[in-house]
């Protein structure tokens, strides 16, 4: 294979995997890799056809091709516009003096001695005589719920993926994979509804928790949303481990489980890590589930039995009410910038991990 023709085939899986976190889109590594890929040199091709192009309706063609080129950058435009317009609404927080009287970055990130409180504290009370915009309770709440969700979703997602790729027979695989796809298709508002109406009561009765809605309920419900992400990406990663690795290991006398633990898992490691990173990004940004199931109290604590208020749920609950352009509005957009930045970082991390896995497998094969 020439380097040029190899590129698209190797690039495609990465993309399929990354977009796998938009739940319903997935394609298997093997599936898309095995399909023929058009890789002719675009420049030669065009030069050959130019005379004909000129004799037929050239203006129409040029117009259509220009339109394709312009539209092709809609994704870049979207990313830039999202960044610009969320940043624009959050920007006054840094320089507007009227808003500065009510809230500053320092007031948001450091404990303040508020009148009526005994000690300096982090308080989120945006509708008050003195509005208080401490973000730590929200950030800690978000991380807490995310951690709980990951604690459930990683073992379940990776475990099930390992089972499907290594142990399950054809029939079992054809039950498990569509079921996970089904779970991926469940809208998050439905998971939130289920957590709020059903699961909260079960968990409270089973564990004797003080309050019905808490970080644990929200975290478990959230894990349902990210299990499919982690499962899909991990399963693709396990499936992409070259057969020759497994055969070599078996030939050396390793048992099945030794091969899996020593060869398959390390080889697929970066892919699994990418799945986890994508799941993490999804968990941090997920809104409806936590809005409905977490109780939304901005408590600064580490206990999973306490109610939490996440960054995303705060935006969802409060933005509709604020006066456009005011301090509260600006702060909520600032929270949006935080979320956007964090998920961009986890995405790039995931992308990096997949690139590494490919380079490693490619280099060894």
């Amino acid at each position: 294979m020439t380097p040029r023709s190899e590129q698209p085939t190797t690039r495609r899986p990465e993309q399929a995997i990354l977009v796998g976190l938009a739940p319903p889109t997935r394609s298997t590594l093997a599936g898309s890799g095995s399909l023929p890929v058009e890789t002719s040199d675009p420049k030669n091709h065009r030069r050959a056809e130019r005379p004909r192009l000129a004799s037929r309706r050239p203006r129409f063609h040029a117009l259509a091709e220009a339109a394709i080129r312009v539209l092709a950058f809609s994704s870049i435009a979207a990313i830039i516009l999202i960044f610009v317009f969320i940043g624009k609404e959050a920007w006054p927080l840094l320089h507007d003096s009227a808003i500065g009287k009510e809230v500053t970055l320092a007031k948001m990130w450091f404990a303040q001695q508020w009148p009526g409180y005994d000690a300096p504290e982090h308080v989120w009370q945006p509708v008050s005589e003195i509005p208080k915009y401490a973000v730590w309770p929200l950030v800690v709440g978000t991380l807490k719920v995310t951690l709980i969700a990951m604690l459930f979703a990683v073992p379940l997602g990776v475990g099930a993926a390992l089972f499907v790729s290594q142990y399950a027979g054809r029939r079992l695989r054809e039950i498990i994979k569509p079921t996970v796809e089904l779970l991926a298709g469940v809208p998050s508002v439905v998971l939130g509804f289920f957590a709020l109406m059903v699961m909260a009561t079960w968990l409270q009765q089973a564990l004797g928790l003080d309050s019905r809605l808490n970080a644990l309920v929200a975290g478990v419900a959230l894990s349902f949303a990210i299990i499919p992400v982690i499962f899909t990406v991990s399963e693709e990663a396990f499936g992409a481990v070259p057969r020759s690795y497994v055969e070599a290991s078996t030939a050396l006398g390793a048992a099945r489980w030794q091969t899996i633990v020593r060869v398959v898992i390390p080889a697929a490691g970066p892919g699994v890590a990418a799945g986890i990173a994508l799941g993490l990004g999804r968990a941090v940004g997920e809104t409806m589930i936590v809005l409905m199931a977490s109780g939304n109290a901005a408590i600064l604590s580490v206990s999973p039995a306490d109610s939490v208020r996440t960054v995303s749920a705060t935006i969802a609950a409060e933005l509709a009410e604020v006066v456009f352009g005011g301090a509260h509005y600006t702060v909520l957009f600032f929270l949006g910038v935080l979320l956007f930045g964090f998920t961009l970082a986890t995405n790039l991390l995931g992308e990096f991990a997949i690139g590494r896995m490919r380079r490693r497998l490619g280099g060894m094969a």
Binding site: W114, G116, V123, W124, Q125, P126, V127, S128, E129, K132, P137, A200, T201, D210, S211, R212, L213, L291, G295, N296, A297, A298, I299, L300, D306, S307, R309, A317, E318, A320, E321, V322, V323, F324
Partner: protein, 293 residues
């Protein structure tokens, strides 16, 4: 050149006809959706979640009597409604609290009017606890202590030894602000108070939570116990029923308002007049709030 004889020509032409059908279908739907003219005589009502059920019933009944009128009701909270009034996105704002001076100022800046305030019903803001809770009454002071987090166990109020689970509303709610002003005397809610997006969510939570406490409109009180409220430890415990809410002896009775930018005329005027009429006020009782007179 689509006549090239390659093996999948059949598929190709079939797919082209599918493509045609799809584009035609989309075109038809677009045409159906396209008319850009808004219907005349439309009245938009927005605001308080406490009043959303009331506004909706009014709208349903009014449109039944006046088939030509359209009344569109949305919730979101009193703050949302007032913002919408200021932003010009609604004609009538429903609010479960009076407009603040700052809000009136914003309205004046934009429209050179401080708006028109029309009380349309009365509510006895009720304190909800679980049906299994032995308590029957509570003082305003005790309420303040609970909702500011100074009292955290039912034992301190003579109840069972169990943590109090405090349910509050989202801060866009007029009820949230009214309760904060009249019960907490403007102190902050405890951070442990869980914010519910609607009164129904509070009722639902308290109904399921043995040691929960919450507050909300009288009309929502189903499946939970409503506590009698005492102004102070000396005074009588009062139920939020019609007589006590109307004469104001219930400490948490409050008017519910319509806010408009200007004196209502035309379609809006007719609707407001009807709401204040006997027919409109009868619906107030039906929903579970109390009429003005």
């Amino acid at each position: 050149m689509q006549k090239v004889q390659i093996e999948s020509v059949g598929n190709q032409t079939r797919n082209q006809s599918i493509l045609k059908i799809i584009t035609q279908g989309l075109a038809i739907v677009t045409v159906l959706l396209a008319p850009l003219a808004a219907a005349a005589g439309e009245i938009t009502v927005k605001g308080s979640d406490t009043m959303v059920i009331l506004g909706q019933r009014w709208a349903e009944e009014y449109m039944r009597v006046h088939p030509k009128a359209t009344v569109q009701v949305t919730g979101g909270g009193s703050g949302t409604g007032i913002s919408a009034l200021i932003n010009g996105t609604t004609e009538i704002c429903q609010a479960s609290r009076p407009m603040s001076a700052a809000e009136k100022e914003k309205l004046r800046d934009r429209y050179a009017t401080i708006g028109v305030e029309i009380p349309v019903a009365r509510d006895g803001l009720s304190v909800y606890v679980n049906e299994s809770n032995p308590l029957t009454e509570i003082t305003m002071d005790q309420l303040k202590l609970i909702f500011t987090g100074k009292v955290t166990n039912w034992k301190e109020l003579g109840g069972p030894d169990a943590k109090i689970v405090v349910y509050s509303r989202e801060n866009s709610s007029g009820t949230y602000v009214f309760f904060k002003e009249h019960v907490l005397k403007n102190a902050d809610y405890t951070v442990r108070a869980q914010s519910m997006p609607g009164t129904a969510a509070v009722v639902n939570a308290v109904a399921k939570e043995k040691f929960g406490i919450g507050y909300g409109g009288a009309a929502y009180a189903k499946g939970i116990k409503v506590l009698k409220v005492k102004k102070d430890s000396e005074s009588a415990a009062i139920t939020p029923d019609e007589a006590h809410v109307k004469d104001g002896t219930y400490p948490l009775s409050r008017p519910l308002f319509f806010y408009l930018r200007n004196k209502p005329t035309g379609d809006v005027g007719a609707f407001v007049e009807w709401v204040l009429s006997a027919a409109g006020q009868a619906i107030v009782t039906k929903v579970g709030y109390y009429p003005l007179k």
